[in-house]
């Protein structure tokens, strides 16, 4: 697809659809998968809509801390 913005939107919609399909599942693996999907959506917004794909290093500066934070959220959910 030539339009990168539309492609990015389609990726986001696909991620939302997979999230909705997974949302009925319980357990630690499902929780991890839901957080990975949220991270992927955040990456798509930061990279595709906020144009960090074109800013060397800055995309990682946002998505790596977000990934670590999501790991913390998962751990807090998993220890219950």
């Amino acid at each position: 697809m030539r339009d990168r913005l539309t492609l990015n939107w389609l990726i986001l919609i696909a991620l939302v659809a997979v999230t909705a399909a997974l949302s009925t599942q319980d357990g630690r693996i499902a929780a991890a998968a839901l957080l990975v999907l949220a991270w992927a959506k955040a990456r798509a917004i930061l990279g595709g809509f906020l144009h960090l794909d074109r800013a060397p290093g800055w995309l990682a500066a946002f998505v790596v801390p977000l990934g670590l934070w999501m790991g913390l959220v998962w751990a807090l959910a998993a220890v219950r």
Partner: protein
């Protein structure tokens, strides 16, 4: 990695980073609080309607596409296209708020108030604070649509993507991780 590499105004990135930190702090506090009453939090969370949250995610990411197109149009000198994109993005924000209003009305009619359970305190504070950002964004996008300079449109679109970004981050802990 230089500051000059960042697209748009630096102040917008400071705002985006600050907002992510604020909402992340709220979600982390909620997740820690959940440890004190996991069953109560799970029961409270099960009362929410995740379908409306999913619908609102589709609405918000679609309005994000319109904001991004407005930014591209403004950069290319297409002020009419920019105005159309901004107004469609703002319309998406209005739809988001309407769906959120319906969801809150259902919650309240089911006896779910901000003090019904600590989970609902976090739920109303975090989603309410986010909805306030959506409302501010709708006003911002409509205001920028009046004067569609490339810099103004870019700043408005960046604010809107931040609102979108925060929503996808807070959604799983609030609605899905039971």
């Amino acid at each position: 990695m230089d500051l000059e590499d960042l697209p748009g105004e630096l102040i917008m990135w400071i705002l985006i980073g600050s907002e992510i930190l604020v909402f992340a702090a709220g979600i982390t506090a909620m997740s820690a609080m959940r440890l004190t009453d996991p069953t109560g939090f799970a029961d409270a969370q099960a009362m929410l309607d995740g379908r409306m949250a999913a619908l609102n995610t589709v609405v918000l990411v679609t309005s994000g596409l319109f904001a991004a197109r407005a930014e591209r149009a403004a950069a290319g000198g297409d002020r009419r296209g920019a105005r159309r994109g901004l107004m469609l993005a703002a319309l998406g924000g209005a739809v988001f708020l309407a769906v959120k209003g319906v969801e809150y009305a259902h919650d309240l009619s089911a006896g779910i108030g901000i003090d019904a359970h600590p989970f609902f305190t976090f739920y109303f504070l975090l989603t309410g604070f986010h909805a306030a950002h959506v409302a501010a964004g709708v006003v911002l996008l409509a205001t920028v649509a009046i004067r569609t300079t490339p810099d103004a449109v870019q700043a408005g679109a960046m604010f809107w993507h931040m609102v979108d970004l925060v929503w996808v981050l807070i959604l799983p802990p609030i609605y899905l991780l039971g």
